[in-house]
């Protein structure tokens, strides 16, 4: 592993991070279907967080940005000990959280709080706002005595702008508007005096005219209470405004991280670029980019080899991790543009592309070879089809990842460039780290796994 530019701070040094995450993995077992369970099939695992390193300095706002399925929410919950990591470490002020029992974590929760996406669902419908906030105090035996507790609740409500507090303490969540409910949720979090606030899409379910108000409130609380935030969002615009540092996540991994301004002014990872290009901007002189990543986030239970973004990446090239199943994607794309007759013939030959998924894929040393058998017809036909598609789109990254295609024992043998998984590494002359073969030559960086 290459060393980081700065040596890690000693535990009690003044620059000690508030939260430190090392090699964090969170896996979820997918519930197997009934048949699979009966025959004893193993449930597949989803690597929701797949090896993440993070540091949070006190008072800083870190944005975790990604699409759904990127693992950003799971990572945020793992920081609070709400989900159990499979491996790795999360320390809060030097104290290890991974492996702590629920009862040992509970007192720490006072310092590690969360604001949720859906303010309505995160408030108990049968508790008044006053009781909901008071209950947080009661759990931690703070401000003992009814009088003191009620005063603390009123202070918290007024702190988040729900003033006069008397108007709100006896209201049920159902009687408040979305913005008011989110303010109440924030009040419930800050009344405990937390140091870290994980805000999971806190404004995405609110009406747009309220978003600015809630974001403004969070910003104000950071200044006044010295809070440290992890701001989880898919909305780059609010992240740019609110965050000091950004980590872009894709399929459980951080693909790019650095100071907000640098990420936005000079995005490096093609995924970051794509996300930025895709943000709808209320400036009619701009238009949607022509070149968008194709497809959608793949199934996290079966992520692509190499760089997880490679099948969608507009700048992919030889070492990105091409594998036989990418051929299916290429052909499905091809078939949206051909006529019914041609499609029928090609679909028959390739069993609707299923032969690519079923290809025999072996790696011996540095040789990565796949054997694809045509569903009907001979291998020569299949090779011709593959070559035709390659000639039609020679710039397609996949074809750079294939060194040779030949007929071999009734099948087509395809030789791939060795697959390398990019690592998150610093970029020269910048504070940004990026995991992409475009910036780090796969030959000189050892690929994990």
């Amino acid at each position: 592993m290459p060393t980081k530019p700065e040596a890690p701070a000693k535990p009690d040094a003044p620059g000690q991070p508030l939260v430190q995450v090392r090699g964090l993995h969170v896996d979820f077992a997918l519930r197997a279907n009934a048949v699979a369970r009966l025959i004893g099939g193993a449930a597949s695992m989803v690597h929701a967080v797949d090896g993440v390193d993070l540091e949070l300095a006190p008072g800083e706002v870190l944005g975790l940005v990604g699409e759904s399925g990127s693992g950003k929410s799971t990572l945020g919950r793992a920081l609070l000990g709400l989900v159990r990591p499979s491996s790795g470490s999360v320390t809060y002020r030097g104290r290890e959280l991974v492996g702590l029992s629920e009862s040992k974590l509970r007192p720490l929760r006072r310092k590690l709080q969360m604001v949720f996406q859906d303010p309505h669902a995160s408030l108990n419908p049968s508790m008044t706002i006053g009781r909901a906030i008071g209950d947080a105090l009661r759990i931690h035996h703070m401000h003992p005595g009814r009088e003191a507790r009620e005063q603390a609740v009123r202070d918290a409500l007024e702190r988040v702008g729900l003033a006069p507090a008397a108007r709100f303490v006896d209201k049920f969540p159902g009687e408040l508007s979305g913005g008011q409910k989110q303010r109440a949720v924030i009040a419930r979090a800050i009344v405990l005096g937390p140091e870290l606030l994980v805000a999971d899409e806190p404004i995405s379910m609110l009406d747009m005219s309220v978003r600015a108000k809630i974001l403004g409130l969070l910003d104000e609380l950071r200044r006044d209470l010295g809070l440290t935030y992890v701001y989880i969002t898919h909305d780059l615009a609010s992240a740019r405004f609110f965050c000091d540092r950004i980590a872009i996540m894709y399929l459980g991994k951080i693909v790019e991280t650095g100071p907000t301004e640098e990420i936005f002014s000079a995005p490096r990872h093609p995924y970051t670029k794509a996300l930025l290009d895709a943000v709808p901007d209320p400036d009619p002189s701009r238009s949607i980019p022509r070149e968008l990543p194709r497809g959608e986030v793949p199934d996290a239970a079966d992520p692509p080899a190499g760089c997880p973004f490679h099948p969608r990446c507009p700048r992919s090239f030889a070492p990105c991790g091409w594998q036989p199943r990418d051929l299916r994607m290429i052909f499905e794309q091809r078939w949206t543009g051909v006529d019914a007759e041609q499609y029928a013939a090609e679909a028959k030959l390739t069993a609707d592309g299923a032969i690519f998924d079923a290809a025999d894929d072996t790696t011996i040393g540095t040789d990565t070879t796949a054997t694809v058998r045509p569903a009907t017809g001979g291998p020569g036909e299949l090779l011709t089809l593959l070559q035709a598609e390659r000639d039609a789109h020679p710039d397609e990254g996949l074809w750079h990842g294939i060194t040779d295609m030949s007929v071999h024992e009734g099948a087509v043998r395809i030789e791939f460039v060795p697959r390398a998984t990019p690592a998150l590494l610093p970029v020269l002359d910048s504070a940004v780290q990026v995991s992409c073969h475009l910036y780090h030559d796969p030959d000189t960086t050892p690929a994990p796994r």
Partner: protein
């Protein structure tokens, strides 16, 4: 009464449409006097905060109103007044001549039916003369134009991702070659990249099918990127409309101005928000409905409904744009302090 407007350059012409729906108390004036038109192939963005009547308007155009609701005004579609048509006729047009795309595609697709069956059912209902093969080709063409490979034609809805399902919904709407589509927040539930893909596709299909689209959204960014014209709705009325370029460059109505200022975009350096919340549409404010939240409210704004003032492509409903108001009418309104207690 129902003079047929034979302007051939207009697909949909809506005049003074109202949709009031019933509530335990007085009726909710969700749409209260709305006038606009759509040309063939034109995309009109309808924006506004939640609870301003956007969705009710979209559904009302389709003749879909909640039980107990009343609708009036005129909706000329393709030369016929929809509201004067018998119910059966109107229902035939819905889906056939007019399409509807919703926010949540999964709730509109039958989980037990393959995609192919959805197309077959739909085409059978609206174009019974189509042969099986023709129907299949029509379905495949529609899917193809939305970038869904024909290999997926026999799949069930749950085998698709959210973005793919939305594409299927759009394909289903397009297979009937409608002249007009209402798309109600079609990309709100989707990720940014998928949203951009679908907006691109919507642009693409305009060249192929050229339907007029009413795109209902709360996202001004989407309007800027995907629409030709924009209509800004507030409290049941369209307060401003015009070409996207003109309205975004020089918004005339204070609500449009505030809405644009309060949107968080990549260029946002300072947060701004509109005080207060949209009014209760059971008893909306007198005069201009925006006056309690308007930074430029005057005495006249409380007293009378503002005039519609045209300027180039733009038209806005605001007293600030009216000329010849006397001193008294122009007297600035004492704004009450709006506390967060009243916010949305």
């Amino acid at each position: 009464m129902t003079e047929i407007r034979s302007r051939s350059d207009v697909v949909l012409d809506v005049q003074d449409m109202r949709v009031w729906y019933s509530s335990p108390g007085d009726p909710v004036r969700a749409v209260d006097g709305v006038t606009f038109a759509l040309r063939p192939g034109e995309v009109l963005g309808l924006v506004g905060e939640s609870g301003c009547g956007k969705s009710t308007l979209g559904r009302g155009l389709m003749g879909l109103v909640p039980r107990g609701a009343a609708i009036d005004g005129t909706i000329h579609f393709d030369g016929q007044d929809l509201l004067a048509l018998p119910r059966k006729e109107r229902e035939r047009l819905r889906g056939g001549g007019m399409g509807l795309i919703f926010q949540e595609p999964m709730t509109r697709l039958d989980p037990l039916m393959r995609v192919s069956e959805h197309f077959r059912e739909e085409l059978k209902a609206h174009e019974p003369k189509l042969s099986k093969q023709e129907a299949r080709n029509r379905g495949l063409d529609a899917l193809r134009s939305l970038g869904i490979p024909p290999t997926r034609y026999g799949n069930y809805p749950h085998e698709f991702s959210g973005g793919m399902r939305q594409r299927i919904m759009i394909a289903l709407a397009l297979a009937l070659r409608p002249k007009f589509i209402v798309a109600d927040e079609p990309t709100t539930a989707l990720d940014v990249l998928v949203e951009a893909q679908i907006l691109n596709i919507l642009k693409g299909i305009r060249e192929l099918y050229a339907p007029a689209i009413l795109l209902i959204t709360h996202n001004l960014g989407i309007v800027a990127e995907a629409c030709d014209r924009v209509a800004v709705m507030y409290a049941g009325r369209i307060v401003e409309q015009g070409t996207v370029r003109d309205v975004f460059a020089d918004p005339k109505h204070p609500y449009t101005q505030e809405l644009l200022r309060s949107t968080i975009s990549l260029a946002t350096r300072e947060l701004h928000s509109i005080p207060g919340a949209p009014p209760d549409l059971v008893s909306p404010p007198s005069g201009c409905r925006f006056h309690p939240r308007c930074p430029h409210a005057m005495q006249i704004c409380v007293d009378a409904l503002p005039p519609t003032v045209r300027d180039g492509s733009q038209q806005a409903e605001c007293w600030l744009l009216a000329s010849g108001l006397d001193e008294n009418a122009r007297r600035p309104l004492q704004r009450q302090e709006v506390s967060v207690a009243d916010e949305a």
